[in-house]
Subunit: 190 residues, 2 copies
């Protein structure tokens, strides 16, 4: 990747641009596949996000077993972001968004540890997921339900090349705000 | 429903408008829940649609058992449309489109027997599904992947109150046309 500076400059949303800057690179967590043994510490990190219930459409009283099914068993792959001290700072899953004739479009879900927000973990995971998706042969990535009030995520996905292709009126029952809009976001990868 | 003519007139997409006209009503099939014993004749009707592979994102070589899971086991409810002679002329399923905070939005899939196309079966099933969804407490209905080349369905859903809220570029791998767009369609019910 480090020899790709010139190519990175030429492509606006190139994944190379971030990873060829030493400063940005040094802040990036290591991203690797999640193994079953990682689950307890992963659950510890993501449980508060599921309990808060303001970003993902999972029941806020979801059980650990159901969360494992959603986050690890069902997806094709699940990844962990680990910082220099070995702490889990993020996780994401990758899977086909539809079967059959829709299976060339993937979808992902990302969670960043509250303790590690604002330092580029989500960005690193999204870029990693795009590379992974391309390597797996997917032609596009779709987010089905980006809650409109989750403005940080929205801005980040847009910065990383995703378009809001549709808005679903009142499609998310926010625990504090009631029915709020959600966006469908999409990025062509190939 | 028959006493609702005045209300039906006031609401452009009211379900009452169709059902209060005797001529339209007389052409409508009877719609009832599907029981396991109905499956063989249902599969016989829907198998060619799955094999053609140009409307639903299911592998065209899908097995009967997988089709049963998709059409009957997974959904909350599955219905049959039966004509005056007792023949199955259509079927649809109804289920929540997302879990948890998205579970107030439902989704449906509809199939009409090739032998019964153009006589209002899809329209009757869509209207039936909207009433059923409202009765079940859903606040909206969403179609996630309406293939852009399926123009008859597109026009019908729009006529029955659905908006195209988004277009997914190349999201459907059409068996004859290659990658074609698909639309996300949505209708508020409450």
């Amino acid at each position: 990747m480090t020899s790709d500076v010139s190519r990175g400059k030429a492509k606006r949303h190139s994944l190379a641009t971030t990873f060829t800057q030493p400063k940005a690179f040094s802040r990036m967590p290591q991203i690797r596949q999640l193994f079953d043994a990682d689950w307890p510490k992963t659950w510890e990190m993501i449980e508060p996000v599921f309990r808060a219930g303001d970003t993902f459409p999972y029941p806020s009283d979801i059980t650990m077993d159901d969360a494992f099914d959603i986050w690890v068993s069902d997806p094709a792959k699940t990844f962990l972001a680990v910082d220099g001290a070995g702490s889990v700072v993020g996780t994401y899953y990758l899977k086909a968004n539809q079967p059959g004739q829709g299976s060339h479009v993937c979808t992902c879900g990302y969670i960043v540890s509250p303790a590690a927000r604002g330092v580029g973990v989500a960005s690193a995971m999204c870029q990693h997921s795009q590379r992974e998706a391309i390597a797996e042969g997917y032609r596009a990535m779709q987010y089905n339900l980006v809650v409109a009030t989750n403005t940080n995520a929205l801005r980040l996905w847009q910065k990383l090349g995703f378009d809001i292709v549709g808005t679903l009126p009142g499609a998310f029952d926010h625990p504090k705000l009631g029915y709020v809009d959600a966006h469908v976001m999409y990025k062509q990868l190939a």
